[in-house]
Amino acid sequence: MSSERRIRVVVAKPGLDSHDRGAKIIARAFRDAGMEVIYTGLRQTPEQIVETALQEDVDVIALSILSGAHLTLFPKIMELLKHRGLDDILVFAGGIIPKEDIPHLKKIGIAEVFGPGTPTDTLVKFVLENMHGRR
């Protein structure tokens, strides 16, 4: 193992819901897949998430949300990412997100939305397949 490049992922929980088990499971799965996971914890504001992504120079942002506030929070996050010149980061979401909201979320740049209980292998595979050559 050398100091070579690793995929860096932010796992964030925007908004006020406090169920972080899913987020932690994902974080561990990504670590086991050889990625460096910056786990930011609960109650993140869009500004905090984007600023973290910038300072940590991440390749991926994984958003976990169960509160139903995705339609307000996600557009704000995507807007901030664009504004800071970070729109080449791969952003995807998981948790409780109604199917009818998914097309809209994809339109604003969320690459994929995964339902609860999605096997972590699927998520890992998704990231590996969608890694843009960012650096």
């Binding site: 193992m1 050398s2 100091s3 070579e4 490049r5 690793r6 974080a27 561990r28 990504f30 670590r31 086991d32 897949a33 050889g34 990625m35 460096e36 996971v37 910056i38 786990y39 930011t40 914890g41 993140q44 504001t45 500004e47 905090q48 600023e51 973290t52 910038l54 300072q55 940590e56 120079d57 800071r84 010149g85 650096r135």
Partner: protein
Amino acid sequence: MTNIEQLIDGVLKGDRRSIAKTISFIEDDLPESRKAVSLLYPHTGKAYIVGMTGPPGSGKSTLIQKLVEELRRRGKTVGVVAVDPSSPFTGGAFLGDRVRMQELSTDEGVFIRSMATRGSLGALAKATKDAVKVLDASGKDVVIVETVGAGQSEVEIVKVAHTIVVVMAPGLGDDIQAIKAGIMEIGDIFVVNKADRENVNKAILDIETMLNMNPEKEKWKPPVLKTTAITGEGITILLDKIDQHKKYFEAGAIDTRNRQRVETELVEAIKEKVAESIVDDLKQKGDLDKLVQKILAKEMDPYSAASMLLAKRLEWFKTG
């Protein structure tokens, strides 16, 4: 301006994106990362570097958050490098130190970077020193480095920091007793965090006892402080002590430590270059495999092989 020069220019201006990208550049060991460090070097040496070390569960991250908040109140800008271990099997890492510091993310005067050890055998990532240089060059007044807290290998922090703070907590098992000698000798300030717990006075006594067993090398007597990071108790005193040590350090009293630091860095850089030059040559000629086979067949041992290679390379330098 080349890409690197643009990046460095951004760092010197304090541009956060440039800082982040430059740290990644160096961390990934890209071909021109040495050049990036060279360009930064003349602009380093202004930041004061504080190392925070100690066993997991002692509350280092929470303590750092409170320290940063206090430093900000005192008008200082701060960089934080938080190091966590990479899995030796998967190469991945769970970098969770930021969780305790997230409120600081949106403070313009604070820059936090999480780093994984990535193949480095110690408590610091190989690129930690360079990440500190980037934050230094970007104009941060103070840079705090949080180590893994892995025990013996924490002494590496001496190579990076001016003041080393060792953070412990009562009730972490036999921890105080089991603290390796190395840590007791490198700590400039000792902190018993979670001082609201039982046995805090015993912990302080244990540390003081162990410290008294150290030979007196310098005029600085490491103080043992009490903090309760969650409430913020003891933080201002800790910062005042760090300030005190800083004055002691800058008064030239530990010029030797600075010298040692630079010397170590130089020697390591030389070793790296020499090894690189020899191994690259071997690989190019296709001889690395042959040599490995010889050693496997016990026709040679690795050390004689290395001596022979060095002798050959020196010859080459003379004639080539």
